[in-house]
């Protein structure tokens, strides 16, 4: 394949690690390599760095350091919050509420519990991907033990009314978890203001390293362990701490926090510009997800009559790295459950594209992307029997109309 300049546009999948983050991690491999549980100097140094990272992160989220638990990834945080709550609360009830557009880390964790006899209610979303807080209220029962609704959707970018949902759960005395993996580092988060009981984060979504995440667990809240073992994380998550990763995560969050406002503004401008250009320059294109209540960096569009993987493949050929709404690449032929949940017909869902912007992206790249996409979409439409049918139907209608 010919090599061109690559333009990375899939920051919702993962981000490059920020050079300053790599630098912050570096000493922990060969120099400060101690086990934070160890007694001697090298161990104490490690412990100190560990707790400094925790303090830093807690500060940014307006949490207590004792509310931050380090994990291996967003998936672990989600599984721990959901399964840990279920196991610890099963005497009170076995009913769990989630939404139809959750990440698989949440949905599959819930389904694991379903197999063990828990009952699951999966709330629908509206055409913009919004969960209605009132539907949460209406669905909570006597035996409901957990509501888990994501903060920001990873495919269509829709932001949920988490604060309202948290308030309802608090009122109803049901625990509330939110998968905030896509929100971490992108939106300001104040746990006290938010009122959620548990929040999941993953470092590699905000220019931190892969393989490290965290779970915010509100003070006083006790849930069962998922990873039992040593006394790490105050006896609640065993395993020698990934200190380099944790230090890196803290650094990455700090950097994101410092430039949050400016970067958010820049992302929104870029995002809205790209959306505008795509809708203007490519006919039969629709925006998926909420027009305003969406992640600053998320663009998700459907191009009618064509299929997503072939769009991605051509984009890749032209040097643009994006993601599709079709799960075709993962070996399944089903389009994304999120796009179906917002009511897209299968063939439209198949023709979707997610562009998730990041720190290195520019307006110039948006122009080039729009241009390439214009070409790609026409080429694929020219090959598409669906488009041919559409044109024929159109022509027939025009004829009828002009008669």
């Amino acid at each position: 394949m010919e090599q061109r300049q690559r333009v990375y546009l899939d920051h919702a999948a993962t981000t490059p690690v920020h050079p300053a983050v790599v630098k912050s991690m570096f000493p922990y491999f060969t120099e400060y390599y101690g086990n934070p549980s160890s007694f001697y100097q090298t161990g104490r140094e490690a412990r100190k760095s560990l707790e400094e990272a925790r303090d830093k992160i807690a500060g940014i989220f307006n949490a207590d350091p004792g509310e931050i638990y380090f994990t291996a990834c967003g998936t672990e945080s989600d599984n721990w919050a959901i399964k840990g709550t279920a196991l610890s609360r099963q005497k009170h009830g076995r009913h769990i509420i989630t939404s139809a557009i959750e990440h698989h880390a949440v949905l599959h964790a819930c389904e694991d519990l379903q197999k063990q006899g828990f009952e699951l209610t999966v709330l629908p979303v509206d055409e913009n991907g919004l969960v209605s807080p009132e539907s949460v209220r209406g669905t909570i029962r006597e035996d409901t033990i957990l509501v888990t609704i994501m903060m920001a959707n990873n495919e269509i970018g829709t932001l949920q009314p988490i604060k309202e949902i948290a308030a309802i759960c608090r009122e109803k005395k049901v625990l509330f978890h939110s998968d905030a993996v896509q929100a971490g580092g992108a939106l300001p988060i104040d746990v006290k203001d938010l009122g959620a009981d548990m929040l999941s984060f993953s470092a590699h979504k905000f220019y931190g390293p892969k393989g490290v995440g965290l779970l915010y667990l509100r003070k006083g809240l006790r849930i069962d362990n998922l990873l039992s073992g040593g006394a790490q994380e105050r006896n609640r998550r065993g395993g020698t701490e990934n200190l380099a990763g944790i230090v890196g995560m803290a650094k990455a969050l700090e950097l994101a926090d410092e430039k949050m406002e400016a970067e958010q503004k820049r992302m929104i401008t870029l995002r809205d510009y790209l959306i505008e250009q795509l809708l203007k320059k490519i006919p039969h294109t629709r925006l998926n997800g909420h027009p305003e209540k969406r992640l600053p960096n998320n663009v998700n569009v459907s191009f009618e009559f064509i299929e997503g993987e072939s769009i991605l493949l051509m984009l890749d050929h032209y040097g643009f790295e994006c993601s599709s709404g079709s799960a075709c690449t993962s070996g399944s032929l089903d389009p994304s459950h999120v796009l179906l949940a917002i009511g897209l017909p299968h063939e439209i869902a198949h023709g979707s594209l997610r562009v998730s912007l990041g720190q290195s992206n520019t307006r110039e790249q948006m122009d080039k992307l729009t241009e390439s996409l214009s070409t790609i979409v026409s080429r694929l439409r020219d090959m598409s029997p669906l488009y041919a049918d559409f044109l024929k139907k159109n022509r027939a209608e025009e004829k009828t109309a002009s008669n």
Binding site: M1, E307, G308, S310, L313, L333, E347, H350, S384, P385
Partner: protein, 143 residues
């Protein structure tokens, strides 16, 4: 998942894209729900495929296998064309990722479906030929 150079070539520069006006036969397989539709048009003279065109809605390998399959039967007699297998298409493309083998299946079936249409239209359907289409209806919605 990595496509071969051959697949990429047929995807980026597909052969025989289009439609044939007044085609002698055509066939469509797949459905939009599954994310793959292939339509094949044939121009046939003296039972020889003198022109073939396809339109495909689908992933990269769906387009590449359509292109390759049409190229492979172009110029063949209808009975030679009937012997096209998805394996042969995939091999001609230097292989397909395992999860994409169904696309080559679809290409085989699109060609066969157009041939079936031809035999039926021209009253040439024989029990032997009928036999070759048996798998068609089962598999086409199954991929």
């Amino acid at each position: 998942m990595q496509y071969s150079d051959k697949v990429m070539d047929h995807f980026m520069h597909p052969r025989n894209v289009g439609e044939i006006e007044n085609a002698d036969a055509s066939g469509t397989v797949g459905n939009a729900k599954c994310g793959d539709i292939m339509k094949v048009d044939l121009k046939i003279e003296d039972n020889v495929i003198v022109d073939i065109k396809f339109k495909t809605f689908g992933c990269g390998s769906a387009i590449a296998t359509s292109s390759m399959a049409t190229e492979m039967v172009m110029g063949k007699t209808v009975d030679e064309a009937l012997k096209l297998t998805n394996k042969a298409v995939a091999e001609a493309l230097d292989g397909l990722p395992a999860i994409k083998m169904h696309c080559s299946m679809l290409a085989e079936q699109a060609v066969k479906s157009s041939l079936k249409n031809y035999f039926e239209k021209t009253g040439q359907m024989t029990p032997e030929r009928e036999e070759m289409f048996k798998s068609l209806d089962e598999d086409a919605h199954d991929h």
